[in-house]
Every structure is written in structure tokens, then in C-alpha cells.
Assembly symmetry: C2
Homo-oligomer: 525 residues x 2
């Protein structure tokens, strides 16, 4: 991780209303509004602010440029007798030109509209590449849920292999139906980036190249080089450090909060105090074991690290609400003071801590108190089904140690993880499978046409691909980049290295497209 | 296909008894024994005959050199909650040396003992490569049948994807259990060659290279270059022609037999005559529609073409009985005369035709009459489950036209094929799937480390890979070679081009092994 310090830039944008209205509102949603305004004054010219607002505006109306469609998919591609389901996808065709390409979003664990509205890299290059845009929804998410309300009784069809086969079948159909034998370039972020890279590895005849952004495909056991299970939390901690623009005292304060919480958790009186200090709702169950509370609080830091974008974004919030620009910096701005070791000092610390995690859990600004739940219902459903995938196939645990990270000592505990998979889904966590099936590093040695991009603000980068494997399996590092920032719309607030990263990606995209047409040329009768 | 004419060499070998005993019996099993003896005298020195007999003897005791083992496999690798079954495999370890390799037979649609006893290429190179030999059984075959007698109620787990995953899991386990991080070289013939090449394409991190012998992986619809559905029968016909050493009149006589059979089939009297002429059993049902009879007869020619080896072999007979050397030539030797167009002439033709197909259907010499059934019970079971795979995934129909081949006009009829899949298994024949999943030619363009070998006597070569795709996806053609002859034990009767073919294969095998160790070296800490 680079140690270079960054100046915090706190800017808030809102959608809706006239540009003037929205400009007037800049920064007002920020719990740290005055700091924001000040910084905005300092760094943004009115022109710049306008273009930021316009970039935001572009995001919101993209559905209208696309046709929503449904495809009858086989639920079990590996069993011919299996039932079908309706897979949703969007086709956005206005930029297509003969000799063009297909840009294919490899849907991951959310309603595909989220990806459609946020994947600026596809939209912004559509015209130059004469691209038809396709956004495919991942089975069991959004409107692509089989069995309706009974879905949880039929979870066995939710697997990465079935999902990849869905995409292979869909792309084949789309090329045939449109009579376009064109190169297909895949885009995927996070789990979608994993799926994208695996789609290229397992179906190179279907997809010609993939931009796999923030894809932690090296999170699994059994690879020839063991991965660091603590890496994820270390990057989250980096986000909360001055090197990533956060307040100097943030990491030490967060580190102090956990034992303070534990101590209060030991008595009933203490737990009452703890609830008040953290703004937990009265009826939130809390006993001596405050692990769930601590895990819930930790989640907010992980999410803010992933969503540590240089401008406000609803992406990490599933499109439901927005986090402020550099949310980790905003959260940490509440933890910039020093708090003494007195009882009062500890309570102040916890109160500040509550404000910090509130940047995430109260991004909607309408919560009076917290349950220990996901920030939105959408998020809860998606993360629920993601949990199934996690147990059933992609078991990649992370650990914390409180030394290299700002959390507490929580070593790997397979027994507990497995019990949790059993409790929730009645299944075992599979440990060896991802590396057996997807191959880890050894597959990368023979793969081709994948760009793996990772930002150093993104905790997922810890188990991402960070070295080139060949001329065509290459790495793009983005200093100051959070979770697949490169996939988002361009923004004047983008960190400088992002431009070069996107240029490299485009270079590879052109190469893949040109290679496809060159081969097609040689095959002509 | 090369037009060069070959001199027929008809030699029969038997197992058991002393070498002298067996030598004395040479040729006696042949319906055309005197011709055999004559040819044997002409071409084989006593030394040569001795070494042929020894080569045959080697084949029979190989099981004793191996340990039979069972591995608990997941029945559905893509559903964590699935039940398990016991997969059988053999490990033959006496040739292994540190720094050696694993030779892995990619089991196909029969009891794996068949492949263990016939895959000479693995045995003969074991010492040179310091190889541990593993023969893995294909699920649903041999002793690897899940659900015992109820297996046919659970056919949904019989798929190529599950089978490949079995092998990936098994190899991973074997390397871990033996603590040997060694290169794995796969061997597979026919459907096993298809599985082998797909294993390399889909799991290149598991298997370092594959000898894919006689693998008709281009038999499927939807590829960029459509394949010739008639190719298979054209090669069978080539085997029956003088260019492949068969009697001059064989092809015309076979071609004449079908209308003669059809004509007799039209009346009850005629059908009685037909039964007698073809030595069908009295109780064999036969009505006006003699398609089943014709199909059954045609099967024998296809099988004899595949099994058109230069020495007697039990391979095509599932190890149960032996076909004579060059069985197609033996069959055709019964059809070398000309038969006139009189009723008597036609009957003589059919009688000769019956003798010809008897080379296949009565290889055990103990049948007094024929049912329209497979030559052995073992064969019937295996081909039954192969039929399921064929319908469920690998639907690759072949056609005949009676012009470019010696059969009759039978164009592609999907409706009939699909009805048959429904009648037998209650499932649809899948048309597009193999090319979507395995990629046809386009995958070959980016694949690596596969040698595709094909003999010009082998009907499967018609849809095999016959052009190099790169330095490491290469083709080996074997003039005078039947169905994966190169995998068999060396034999003095081998056609000359086989030696060069095997040398090329060995060259690639060394390259894969050396590459593996070179990469391992660079990865050392």
C-alpha cells in the first residue's frame, strides 16, 4: 500500500432538482457539512461543480435508454431435464454500429439496474466502440428469481457454474438473434469481476476479453501461494489512516472503541449505557456476547472502505441512498479528537464512534436509532443470497488481529463459520472447491485477455490479482481508488491515476476487438 | 483420406497356453482361416510372431500391478448439498520416481479395467517418465455406479461437466494425498479423448497436457464451420474399400445388400427367407419396417471400422471377446465375390453379408443365430448409458446417403432422434449445448497442450481435430490407424506411421512435464 498522504476532499452531491438547486445543496447532506463546504470552496470551481452534477445526472436516466427483456434459461445446465426460469437482461442498442462490439455486464449479486446505472465505463465507451450494451442479471437476484416466493426452498440452482452457463447461453443467443458475429467484451466488478474473469477462463470462445475490476479471485484456500486472510481488514484500516486522507486519530480511536464496548457489554447497566452511546434502539437485543454488535459496526467500516469514492455515490448502498464523498474520511472526521480514559471520555468516544458508523447506517438521515441490521431492505436480501453463494462455493473468510488492523483479534474459525452456514442454509461451507474449479494462480498462467484492476483503497484488492501473468493477463493498479472505481462514470473528482488506468483498459479492449475481427477475416471462405 | 492401397494382413492371435500352442493356433479363429494362414506365412517371421504374442500376453495381467481404490465423490459438484457416490480408480505406482509425472487416464463409457488393460501408451512410457499411473472410472460405469440398481431413476447426475469435475477433484486429492506436486498428463480415447481435451481446456491448472486420441469433438452443431454429418459413414466405407486393404467388391456388395433386404422385408415369406439368409433367430421380431435390422447390421461395419486394428484385439468388444486383425478386411473377404441378380444370387449375397457381420456379432464363435442386439451384455449396458449422455448433452447425429458411403439414404431427422431420446429417457436431445459449453473451434484457438491424434481408418476422425491450432494444440495423423490405435500397446504389426505419431506425442509429453517443473522452479521462495 502506498504511504503517500492525500488531502481530504469532502463533497456531497444530491440528485433531483435544477442544477442550481442541486448546487445549492452541495455538502448539506454531510454530517460534516461545514468541512465539506469549506473544502468544496477550496477545490471546486463552479464549472467543475456543474460537470460533477451533470455526471451524476447522467447516471439516473439510463434505464430509459435500454430495453428490458427476459430470456427463458435452463435452471440446471448440467441436467437436461431441469426446469427453466426467466432471466432478465437489458439491451441498450443506440450506439451500435456494424463492425462494433458487444459490451456485456456480467451481473453479480444485486438487481442488475444497479450495475446498469453505475457502469460508466461501458456507457462512456459505447460510442467509440460502436457497442451494443447488454446488462445481464445474475440468477436469484433482482427480477431473475426462480420459484417466486418459494425461492429459498430451491437454493441448489444458485451456483457460479450455473450463472456462468447462463451468460454463455445468453450471449450465444444474443449474437444469433441479432445476427451479429461481433467481439464480446465483458465488464464485472467485485464478485461480478470474479465471474467475468472465470467466464473468460472457462468460456473463451464466448467472451473475447474481460475487464475484471476489484475481483478478489485469490481469496480461496488450496492455491499454491496461501493468501493472507487478514489482508481485507488491513486495507480497511489503511482507508481510515492519514495515508488515505483520514483523520490522524481515527485508527487509534476505532481500536479503542472495541474494548470499551466489551467492558460495557458485561453488565446490564453497561449494556443500557452502550445502547444509548451507540444510538441503538431500545428493543435491540443485546446480551453479554456483543460479537454481533461489533461485527455489525465493523461491517460499516468495510463498506465505507469499499465505497470510499471521491464523490457521493449510491453504489455501495445498492442505489437506495448515497454515501458522501470519501465516506471513510467523513466517518473518521468524527473520530479525529482524542478522548481521555475516564468513563466520560469513553462515552464520548463511543458517541463519536456511533456518528462515524452512522455515515453508513444512517446515510438516509432518517434513522432515530439503529437495529443491528443492514442499512436497507434491498441490501439485506442481496447479502442474504450472497451468503448462500459464500457458503455453497465461495467460502473466503477474512480475519482481524487488532494489530495490523484497527479491529480485534478474531482468527479464522472454520467451525463457527460452518455452523453458521448450517444454521442459515443447512449446508457445509466448501473450502477447497473454488481453487479446484477456478484454478487460482495456475489458471492465470495460461489464461488470456483479462485486465484485473484494483484500487488501493479497496479492501478486496488484498486478494485481487496484483501481478501481470502475461501480455494479456494484466494488472492495473489505481492509487486512491476504491471498489472498482474504474467502472464508474468519469468524474472531475476522480483521482489522477484513474485516467491512466482507464486508458490501459481501453487499449486492451481495442486489442481484443481487433483480434476478433482479424481472426474472422482469416476464416472467410 | 489417402488413396494408397494397402496389402491385407490377416493374423489371428489367441491368449493362454504356451507360445508354441498359441502360435499353432494363429489364424484358426478366423472365418477366413486359410487366407489368414497364407498371409501370415507371407509376412511374419517366427520372431515377429513371438513378439506379437508376447505383446498380447503383456496386456492381460495389468490389473495385478495396480491398486483398486474408491473415492467418495460429490454427485453434484455444483450443489453443495448433493449426495455422494464411490468413484473407482486404479493406481499403478511401481514406475514412479521423484521428479516424475502422473499419467491419468480420463475414463470414458466403460468399466475402467478395459482402458487399464489396453492403454499401452501409458504403460510403455511409465518407466521413462517415472510415472505413477492412474486410471479413473467414469461415473455411472463399471463399479462407479451411484444408487445401485436404482441408478436409472437418478440419471440427472450423469453429465460431462460432473465427470470433468470428478476428475479435477480426484487429481487434486491424489496430488495432495501422495504429497507429489507433479505434472499430470492425461490420456483419453474417443469420448475419453473428448473429456481429456475438455479437461485441459476447462481445468488447465489441474492437468498439464492431454493426449486426446480419436476425439470427435467437432461433431456438434453451432460451430463456426458446420461439420459433415456424413463423414463418419464415409470413413467406414473407406475401411471397406481396397484403399484400406479390403476386397474390391465389398463396398458394392454391401451397397446392394440393403435393397435386397428391403425387398424381402415386404412380405411375410420374404421375411422368413431374410431371417434364414442372415442367420437371425426364429423368434427375432421382424416386420415390414426393417430399419432396426438395417441399423443393427450397419453398426457392425461402424464397429469393425473403429476396431480395424492390425492385430486381434478385444478393445472394441469391451474386453469380452476378440475381433480378428483388420476385422473389416476379414468381413469384406466374405464379400469379395460377385453375385448375380437372380434370386439365388441375392440370397448368396445376403448369406455372405451375414458372414461378414458375423465377424463382429459372432466374434465369440458360439452364436447359432442372431438377435438384433449388442454383441455382449457388457456392451449393451455401456452403450445404454452412453445413449443417455448422447441425448442429454452430446447429440452428434450422423447420416448416410448411399452415394458417398455404402449404406442407404438416411438424412438427418431430428424429430425421430428426439422422439427416441424421449422414449428411452424422457428427455430432449440438446442440440446447441456442446458448442456453447465446450466451444468447438474457437476454444481450440486459445487452448494449449493438447495433442489430437486421428487415424484414417477411424470413422471418428471425420469430426476430429485435423489441423494444428498452435504450437501446443497440434494434430497427429496416423495413416492406417483405427480408433485410437496410438493408445494401444506397441505391436510389430503396427502400421509404420504409428511410430512417428507416438514419437511426436512423447515429445509433447516431455515438453509439458518440463514446463511444469520449470514453472515450479521459478516459484520457489
Amino acid at each position: 500500500m502506498p504511504a503517500e498522504e492525500k488531502t481530504p476532499i469532502l463533497v456531497q452531491l444530491d440528485e433531483g432538482g435544477s442544477t442550481a438547486d442541486r448546487r445549492a445543496r452541495i455538502g448539506l447532506q454531510d454530517p460534516n457539512a461545514s468541512a465539506s463546504e469549506e473544502l468544496q470552496e477550496k477545490f471546486l470551481s463552479p464549472t467543475l461543480v456543474d460537470s460533477v452534477l451533470n455526471a451524476e445526472a447522467t447516471e439516473t436516466n439510463l434505464l430509459t435508454q435500454c430495453d428490458e427483456k427476459f430470456f427463458t434459461q435452463t435452471l440446471d445446465h448440467f441436467d437436461v431435464g431441469a426446469p427453466t426460469y426467466q432471466q432478465r437482461y437489458f439491451v441498450c442498442d443506440k450506439h451500435f454500429r456494424p463492425g462494433g462490439v458487444m459490451f456485456f455486464y456480467v451481473g453479480n449479486e444485486a438487481d442488475v439496474e444497479l450495475y446498469l446505472n453505475h457502469t460508466g465505463l461501458m456507457w462512456e465507451n459505447a460510442d467509440e466502440f460502436g457497442a451494443m450494451l447488454v446488462f445481464a442479471e445474475h440468477r436469484y437476484f433482482g427480477k431473475s428469481v426462480p420459484f417466486g416466493k418459494d425461492v429459498t426452498k430451491h437454493m441448489q440452482y444458485l451456483s457460479t457454474e450455473q450463472t456462468l452457463a447462463d451468460y454463455a447461453v445468453l450471449i450465444t443467443y444474443l449474437k444469433k438473434e441479432s445476427k451479429r458475429d461481433i467481439p464480446v467484451i465483458g465488464f464485472g466488478g467485485s464478485y461480478g469481476g470474479m465471474l467475468g474473469s472465470w467466464l473468460r477462463m472457462k468460456y473463451p470462445h464466448i467472451i473475447d476479453g474481460v475487464i475484471a475490476a476489484s475481483a478478489p479471485i485469490l481469496s480461496y484456500f488450496g492455491d499454491e501461494v496461501p493468501h493472507d486472510l487478514g489482508g481485507y481488514s488491513q486495507v480497511t484500516t489503511f482507508d481510515a489512516s492519514p495515508a488515505a486522507g483520514s483523520a490522524e486519530n481515527c485508527v487509534p480511536n476505532v481500536r479503542r472503541a472495541w474494548p470499551a464496548m466489551k467492558a460495557l457489554g458485561e453488565t446490564e447497566d453497561g449494556r443500557r449505557t452502550l445502547k444509548r452511546a451507540l444510538s441503538l434502539c431500545e428493543d435491540t437485543p443485546l446480551d453479554e456476547d456483543i460479537d454481533a454488535l461489533m461485527g455489525w459496526a465493523r461491517d460499516s467500516f468495510d463498506s465505507m472502505a469499499m465505497g470510499n469514492y471521491p464523490y457521493p455515490s449510491s453504489y455501495i448502498m445498492n442505489g437506495v441512498s448515497k454515501l458522501p464523498a470519501y465516506p471513510m474520511r467523513v466517518a473518521c472526521s468524527h473520530l479525529q479528537d482524542t478522548f481521555d480514559g475516564t468513563e466520560e471520555g469513553e462515552l464520548e468516544l463511543l458517541h463519536a464512534f456511533s456518528k462515524a458508523i452512522g455515515v453508513y447506517y444512517n446515510s438516509t438521515k432518517d434513522k432515530e436509532c439503529y437495529q443491528l441490521s443492514a442499512p436497507s431492505a434491498e441490501d439485506a436480501v442481496d447479502s442474504n443470497f450472497w451468503d448462500y453463494i459464500y457458503c455453497a462455493e465461495l467460502y473466503g473468510p477474512t480475519t482481524t488481529d487488532g494489530v495490523k488492523d484497527m479491529f480485534w483479534s478474531a482468527p479464522w474459525n472454520f467451525t463457527a463459520d460452518n455452523a453458521s452456514c448450517h444454521a442459515e442454509w443447512g449446508i457445509d461451507a466448501r473450502v477447497a472447491w473454488p481453487t479446484i474449479h477456478y484454478g487460482g494462480r495456475r489458471f492465470l498462467e495460461v489464461a488470456s485477455n483479462i485486465v484485473f484492476s484494483n484500487g488501493d483503497y479497496d479492501p478486496c484488492s488484498a486478494t485481487g490479482v496484483l501481478q501481470n501473468y502475461s501480455d494479456s493477463v494484466v494488472v492495473v493498479r489505481i492509487e486512491g481508488g476504491a471498489h472498482h472505481l474504474d467502472l464508474m462514470f468519469s468524474n472531475p473528482l476522480d483521482p489522477e491515476p484513474l485516467q491512466a488506468a482507464r486508458a490501459t483498459e481501453k487499449q486492451h479492449m481495442w486489442k481484443w476487438a481487433n483480434e476478433f475481427y482479424a481472426v474472422l477475416e482469416t476464416e472467410k471462405p
